[in-house]
């Protein structure tokens, strides 16, 4: 029963929640409810893995700051096997 209610709630959030936009690319990341509760912001229903970030402000204000969301770039890290430190040996099965 709890699982059914949760599914209904999440579906509701994905349908009627606020549109979350990537603050760097402008891409729509999905819809979710953003609810503040006990000093934390709870994101409900968002399917994309997002990173929160404070947004730069063109006007200096002391009373308001904005938090937006973005995502990581696709992994594109180089092979670093050749720079592998000598003291890191392959760990045998522990």
């Amino acid at each position: 029963m709890r699982r059914i209610l949760r599914s209904i709630g999440v579906s509701f959030a994905r349908l009627f929640g606020t549109k979350i936009v990537d603050v760097e690319s402008g891409r729509t990341l999905g819809k979710a409810f953003a609810i503040s509760w006990r000093g934390k912001v709870h994101l409900i229903g968002l399917e994309t893995a997002v990173r929160p970030t404070f947004l730069p402000q063109e006007r200096l204000t002391y009373w308001k700051q904005e938090i937006g969301f973005t995502t990581h770039q696709p992994p594109d890290f180089p092979n670093e096997r050749s720079t592998r430190p000598g003291n890191v040996e392959q760990q045998e099965s522990n």
Binding site: H72, P75, V88
Partner: protein, 255 residues
């Protein structure tokens, strides 16, 4: 000629495994196929296909895979050990779950070509960086300080905090990367979709995604059995999840 070993993970009945093998053989050929079996040991003996290995690892046999931290470590270890004993070169290892079907005969050539062009040691579906994000698997393991300690210990990277996620099925590994990862155990139960790519990254290997054009044919939920033909027409190399091996397709392929 690329020397790719296709490892098909299955826990199905012997009859279903042999039927799946027939399909694979008709598409890929049988000398590049290995069944890694995670079902009952009694059933393992009843599988007719000879190129098979039994995976005796309770970490593989989970019910709630994500919360119990399903592990492919036993699979990696058994396959890696078997490759050393097996005649003939193996330069790449491609992993497929039983419900992931190849749709093109030159699947392995395409995988290897993509790896060459991307200079990748591993390619995988839905590869993503997830540290510092709302990704549920990342957040779950971020709560365990042992996870960060493990990465700090094994990493050759400047930033030991990077965490990657990927689908295990469809991933293709250079032999060196596969063997290196097979030498490690999880410090505690960690879901393989996080553990495998994150460990490979921190051991210094380069991981790349297949890109959206192929990722779209590999999803985590549902049953795409009805899409086999249309997916191939739309350029799919493979399709997941396919819960019912199409009768017609199987008989045509194996005829």
């Amino acid at each position: 000629m690329e020397n790719v070993l296709n490892v098909v993970l299955s826990h199905q009945s012997p009859r279903e495994v042999d039927r799946l093998v027939a399909y694979w053989k008709s598409v890929i050929g049988d000398n590049r196929l290995l069944v890694a079996y995670g079902g009952p040991r009694k059933s393992f003996g009843e599988i007719e296909f000879k190129s098979k290995v039994f995976v005796d690892d309770s970490g593989l046999r989970t019910r709630d895979h994500q919360r119990e931290g399903q592990s492919y470590t036993g699979v990696f270890r058994e396959v890696s050990n078997l490759i050393r004993r097996r005649p003939g070169p193996v330069d790449f290892v491609a992993l497929f779950e039983y419900d992931h079907l190849p749709l093109v005969q030159d699947l392995n050539a395409r995988q290897v070509e993509r790896m060459h062009s991307d200079q990748a040691d591993v390619i995988a579906h839905h590869l993503a960086r997830v540290d510092g994000t709302s990704h549920p698997h990342y957040l779950y393991y971020a709560a365990n300080t042992e996870f960060a300690r493990f990465l700090e210990k094994v990493s050759v990277r400047i930033n030991p905090e990077i965490v990657l996620s990927m689908f295990g099925t469809g991933s293709c590994w250079k032999r060196e990367a596969f063997d290196a990862v097979s030498g490690f155990n999880e410090p505690f139960a960690i879901y393989f979709e996080i553990f495998l790519p994150t460990l490979a990254h921190h051991l210094g290997f380069r991981l790349r995604d297949y890109a959206a054009a192929q990722d779209t044919f590999v999803s985590n939920l549902g049953d795409r059995s009805a899409e086999v033909s249309s997916a191939r027409d739309r350029g799919a190399w493979s399709l997941h999840p396919v819960k019912r091996l199409p009768e017609q397709l199987s008989s045509v392929r194996t005829a």
